[in-house]
Amino acid sequence: MAYTVARPKLTFAEKAYLPAILTGLGITIRHLVNILSGKKKVTMQYPEEKWDKNLPAHYRGAPTLVTDEHGRERCVACQLCEFICPPRAITIHPGEIPEENRWRKVEKFPKEFEIDMIRCIYCGLCEEVCPEQAIFLLKDYAITGLTRQEMVHDKKKLYELGGVMTGLVNKWNDKK
């Protein structure tokens, strides 16, 4: 069924364009004056002003490793995070904990743990999959470096960022 759209009857002022153009000019100049006088503020001057305080609780930033209250690294080198990582940013070389060590019963620890921050997509699957709650995503987002090598976070850097996580950790508790 064809449907005829009723054409609006325009007045002379509407047909002449100019009043509408003047209204439009009024709107744009109001925006300009509001921004110029500082009455309205929309943008943020990034390096000087940051949004960090207002980051939501669920914000996913840089992944990091944590130690527990005994100074033991929580990671047991099960490599689940390495396998689930969609962009394959994580590389783990597992090692065996020696006989005389206090944590012998843990059996394995990561000799090397590297996260390539150029590859990382901040999806948080590593945090979700970790059975030992050893890896957490923090709110850091400004991960920068001058070389590709610098952008690969090694074990030292990851523990430095992550710090200590004490207590019986429930995976879904807040760390941030």
Binding site: I21, G24, L25, I29, I35, V42, T43
Partner: protein
């Protein structure tokens, strides 16, 4: 012989001074203003960082200075970019086009009186009687740059841009020239300097009334002169003049390819329009030509309707122009001219960020169906009023 030599030298100084000291910096700062104003209209801030780069010299902080050094950085970037010439272009015309786009707008400046006088020398490069005809003739040559660029690029989008541009310029040239005919009828001259003189005596052509007899230096009010200068026909005459101002200004928008008539470029439809295939300094020349054309357009509007360099209540000339105050007055007049131009440029930018682009058939309709007719009728209205005017 020395007479001609001095004339050539003085003209050369005026030309170089006008183009390199005033117009080119003005072009780059128009681009800056465009970016800042557009940003603020859209609730952003625009380029506000580039200032004095003290960190380059080992200091801890830069001085941003409202980003006023942005045009310098832009120019440096454009100069240092790779000048890429695609393999499929017609090389000769491809190289010729940017110059063709740039030169006419600079040439049109020659006849515009941008100041009263400095050291007794009138501030116009060529005080010729054809005046405004020269402006129209030369500025319409600018279309060659665009058409050549569009054609020689051997690519679809620039070609469409070039075609659009030529038809647009031809259509709007008519209403542009016709709309200012009333001015020449009233002033009885085409010489722009003479038109300015007429406006000084009889009031700016855009203002309906002009009160003679009030002056600030020395402060005096001459009531008799006020009553004498009042003329009802002058106010009636203002109506056609205002119409011709509106038609001229809108045609100028179309002539300089500014939004809402920027169909030759039309980023959303034609990628970049006629300069899609250009890069580096050749692209910059197009950009420069476009903005220079805008400045020339504003300068013509200011000259024809806003009394050029004239400042109300300020004396137009001193007895001895060689004294300190004579020079200061000359400089004030030049400044007044460019302040007026800058205000009009702001208007250009303001309109650009307010109105959407016209559709092509709407553009042609507006030009051929309305503006030419309005301008023509306007000429007749003025012709009817003029005989009744008091001399």
């Amino acid at each position: 012989m020395t007479h001609i030599l001095i004339l050539v030298l003085v003209s050369l100084i005026k030309t170089v001074g006008l183009i390199f000291v005033i117009i080119l910096p003005m072009v780059s700062y128009t681009v800056y203003a465009e970016r800042r104003v557009s940003a603020m209209i859209q609730d952003r801030l625009g380029p506000n960082r580039v200032g004095i780069p003290l960190t380059l010299f080992g200091f801890r902080k830069d001085i941003p200075f409202f980003g006023l050094a942005q045009p310098i950085a832009d120019a440096l970037k454009l100069l240092l970019k790779e000048d890429f010439t695609p393999a499929h272009v017609n090389k000769f015309y491809y190289w010729l086009a940017p110059a063709c786009a740039m030169a006419p707008s600079m040439m049109a400046l020659a006849v515009i009186p941008f100041g009263s006088q400095l050291w007794g020398e009138p501030m116009v490069v060529a005080n010729v009687d054809i005046g405004v005809l020269w402006v129209f003739a030369v500025s319409s040559l600018g279309v060659y740059g665009i058409v050549l660029a569009g054609w020689s690029s051997n690519s679809k989008y620039p070609f469409l841009g070039g075609i659009r541009s030529s038809s647009q310029m031809i259509s709007y040239e008519l209403s542009l020239a016709l709309s200012v005919v009333p001015i020449f009828m009233i002033c009885r001259t085409l010489n722009l300097s003479e038109i300015v003189k007429y406006q000084i005596v009889n009031g700016w052509l855009i203002s309906p009334i002009w009160i003679k007899g009030i002056s600030l230096f020395p402060l005096s009010i001459n009531f008799q002169e006020i009553i004498q200068s009042f003329d009802i026909l002058k106010i009636i005459l203002w109506i056609p003049l205002f119409i011709s101002f509106i038609v001229f200004t809108i045609s100028m928008f179309a002539e300089t390819n500014r939004l809402p008539f920027d169909l030759p470029e039309a980023e959303t439809e034609l990628v970049g329009g006629y300069h899609t295939e250009y890069s580096s300094m050749k692209f910059a020349l197009f950009f420069l030509g476009e903005y220079a054309a805008m400045i020339v357009g504003s300068a013509v509007i200011v000259t024809l309707f806003f009394g050029a360099w004239h400042v109300p209540f300020l004396p137009t000339t001193l007895h001895n122009p060689y004294t300190f105050w004579g020079v200061i007055l000359g400089l004030i007049h030049i400044a007044a001219f460019f302040v007026k131009v800058a205000l009009l440029l702001f208007f250009f930018i303001w309109v650009r960020w307010t109105l959407p682009r016209f559709r092509y058939d709407q553009l042609m309709r507006l030009g051929w169906y309305f503006f030419i007719e309005i301008a023509l009728v306007n000429v007749f209205i003025v012709a009817i009023i003029l005989p009744f005017m008091r001399k």
